[in-house]
Amino acid sequence: MAKSVKKSPVKKPVARKAAKPAVIETHESPAVVKGAEPHAPTKANGTPLVEMKDISIAFGGIKAVDHASIDLYPGEVVGLLGHNGAGKSTLIKILSGAYKRDHGQIFVNGQEVTIANPRDAKAQGIETIYQTLALADNVDAAANLYLGRELKTPLGTLDDVAMEAETRKVMHRLNPNFRRFKEPVSKLSGGQRQSVAIARAIHFNARILIMDEPTAALGPQETAQVGELIKQLKAEGLGIFLISHDLHDVFDLSDRLVVMKNGKVVGTARTSDVTHDDVLGMIIAGKCPKGAIPGPGAMKQVA
């Protein structure tokens, strides 16, 4: 039995320095995470990893994000929820440098930073899995994984074999059945494409990870694997923004929840302080429950 597992062609030893061990070692997944319960941080314990303050952006007349503020602490997963078109993707795209905000400030580790383009964001250790995946369809998985930061040979040319070898390792962790390393990603299934996008985001020692519906196209096994991955990355001290419409997943994985509606933040709550119904009320009606801190988008209570 064990023998046939060893035969898997992707598990061949690789003669390169073990790159990014933080990302590669998954096998003894720490169940410790559960014990780390008090990490649900309060503003008191330290500076947030990321703080977006009073962010606004409008497209034409539409205020896609309207004076929204969110923050994220190291080792924390913050779930971002809201109806379709609530402004979740737009808000995180401002953080990832894809959009330029009209108003507001971004702080990383308490320092104000300029994020004018995706390069700036990556320089701050912010990696993003976009809802649209943002893959170059005509090149293969390795080319996508390393796009913008290719491995080079000593001569300065692309080291395609080394990139493929690394890609095989990362992909094996996310999607062990994946074999199609030579094909352009346009030929892959939706879930396989999503795995490539996830691999790209976790491969470069991110400090801050943005996941915009990372499991929308994944099968149950792969989704569970991404869940494990999130827990592990969190244990390693990353901060993660998780956007998802799946309340179960969000409750399972997040420490705090932020709900948006029509571009505004309805409220923020510790996951343990609210119920599914509370959150549904926030999403649908903008009703801020007891356990949550209301934001500018909260429905005014008719007392």
Binding site: M1, K3, S4, K7, P9, K12, P13, V14, A15, S96, A98, N117, P118, R119, K122, T128, Y130, T132, L133, A134, L135, A136, D137, N138, V139, A143, N144, L147, G148, R149, E150, K152, G156, T157, L158, V161, A162, E164, A165, P184, S186
Partner: protein, 481 residues
């Protein structure tokens, strides 16, 4: 027994046919193979057709010609060393530009201004040589050709960068920017020389056109070069194999590697042989002999062959005389060199990778941190540089620069690129495909002029071939998908 056998791991491989297995193992691009087949077909048709022409459509006599081998490969005037040699020289300028147009179109851009740009650059360099440097440095001064070429390259790159900047940063569609360029650059070219033909070019500059004996490599160095390229092919294959072994990746079967090495070498050496079979024109041989005190052997007048000998005091063709062969000519070498460098850039550098990725999904490329605007400027500038190179070849070949030198070149360049399999939707295209496309087009043009068909027919056929090629390509890709 729980260990699966090698074949059952990949059931798809078991029941595929020999042909399919061959293509999978060798990783030969079947689309390119189709193009080569089309090219060979075109060549054969023209040779047979011109052969029939030669013999007044008498099939019997034509057949005699084929058997005796006195004419082209199939009895005509097309598949002769002389014609192939000329064909390659004629193709080089368009082929050089097509290699850059591929990258632009892959990136979802387009440059309609290359023809006018070529005229402008050529006229500017002509004016510099003939009206400025000639009088001031003295005609034939060795600095002239260097400065003239430098001007071509710098000016081309600069104009390309302007096109790119307007496209990327001012966000004007490339179609509009370069359509404006098409019109405007032609105007500037006219203005620079008041519409006159600037001639003659500097003597050393002229070497780049392939029309003078200094631009011919000669058989010895042609063979050396051919062998060097063969060595390069073998090195690339061995090195690729070593690289893949380093990471324990699946390797191509050895027979496939050997086949590829032999095939590549055979093509290179075959081409070298053809180039080395084209003799100098006899009057050049006579002049050379006179200048270098080589005695021209006496001979008998003979219709066959191209050598030179004296019959009385008359210079005639004969077989037993003095003969020199041209070998590769400089413009062809430049084009081949450009092709190799551009293919390398496209496949092996991050610059090339970014171009393809941007063409596949511009938004994804931007989100990956690629500065796509600056990339656009660089690719347009590269296109301009290549136009600069082509302008040297074209004006040197004509030994003159006119504001009509590059007329319609943009159409031929784009047509060559598209015939070569580059998709206008972006993301897909190869350098060698575009260069082969240029060769296909030039073959049709020169084949038809060999048959003395009116020039109008050439345009009609080239246009038709362009549309046909894209149609066939679409059928092909639909079947492959």
């Amino acid at each position: 027994m729980s260990i699966p056998s090698a074949s059952s791991q990949n059931p798809a491989l078991d029941n595929e046919g020999a042909v399919k297995r061959f293509f999978r193992a060798t990783e030969i691009d079947t689309r390119m193979l189709g193009m080569i087949a089309a090219l060979v077909l075109i060549w054969c048709i023209f040779d047979v057709w011109s052969g029939l022409h030669l013999h007044n459509n008498l099939v019997g006599e034509w057949f005699q010609g084929v058997i005796s081998g006195s004419d082209g490969l199939l009895g005509g005037t097309f598949l002769t060393p002389r014609n192939i040699w000329t064909l390659l020289v004629q193709t080089s300028s368009i082929a050089v530009m097509a290699s850059g147009m591929v990258l632009l179109i892959v990136m979802r851009q387009l440059d309609l201004s290359v023809g006018s740009m070529l005229s402008l650059v050529a006229v500017a360099s002509g004016v510099l040589q003939v009206y400025q440097l000639g009088p001031s440095l003295g005609v034939g001064h060795p600095a002239i050709w260097l400065l003239a070429i430098a001007l071509c390259l710098v000016l081309g790159t600069g104009i390309g960068a302007v096109n790119g900047t307007l496209t990327a940063y001012a966000k004007i569609p490339a179609f509009i920017v370069t359509l404006g360029g098409l019109i405007a650059y032609k105007g500037i070219a006219f203005y620079l020389a008041s519409g006159e033909t600037v001639a003659p070019m500097d003597q050393r500059f002229e070497v780049f056109g392939g029309g003078v004996q200094q631009s011919w490599l000669g058989p010895f160095w042609s063979w050396m070069l051919g062998l060097l390229v063969c060595a390069g092919i073998i090195f690339a294959i061995v090195n690729g194999r070593r690289q893949r072994r380093r990471f324990n990746f699946p390797l191509r079967p050895v027979w496939a590697e050997v086949f590829l090495g032999l095939m590549g070498s055979a093509i290179v050496l075959g081409l070298t042989n053809v180039m080395n079979s084209y003799p100098w024109p006899y009057n050049l041989i006579a002049n050379y002999a006179k200048d270098h005190n080589v005695t021209i052997p006496p001979g008998v007048e003979n219709r066959d062959g191209n050598a030179i000998c004296m019959a009385g005091d008359q210079i005639v063709h004969c077989t037993n005389g003095l003969i020199y062969y041209t070998g590769y000519s400089l413009p062809v070498l430049v084009a081949l060199g450009v092709g190799i460098v551009m293919s390398f850039i496209a496949a092996r550098t991050s610059f090339g990778r970014y171009i393809y990725a941007t063409g596949g999904n511009p938004e994804a490329a931007e989100l990956s941190g690629i500065n796509t605007k600056w990339l656009t400027v660089k690719v347009f500038a590269l296109m301009g540089l290549l136009v600069g190179i082509s302008s040297v070849i074209s004006s040197a070949r004509l030994n003159a620069a006119t504001n009509a030198l590059g007329a319609s070149n943009e159409l031929y360049v784009i047509a060559a690129t598209v015939i070569g399999g580059t998709s206008l939707a972006g993301g897909v295209g190869t350098i060698y495909g575009a260069m082969l496309g240029a060769l296909v087009m030039q073959s049709i043009i020169s084949g038809m002029s060999l048959l003395n068909l009116p020039a109008a027919y050439q345009d009609i056929v080239v246009g038709g071939v362009l549309v046909l090629a894209v149609w066939l390509d679409q059928i092909y890709s639909r079947r492959v998908k």
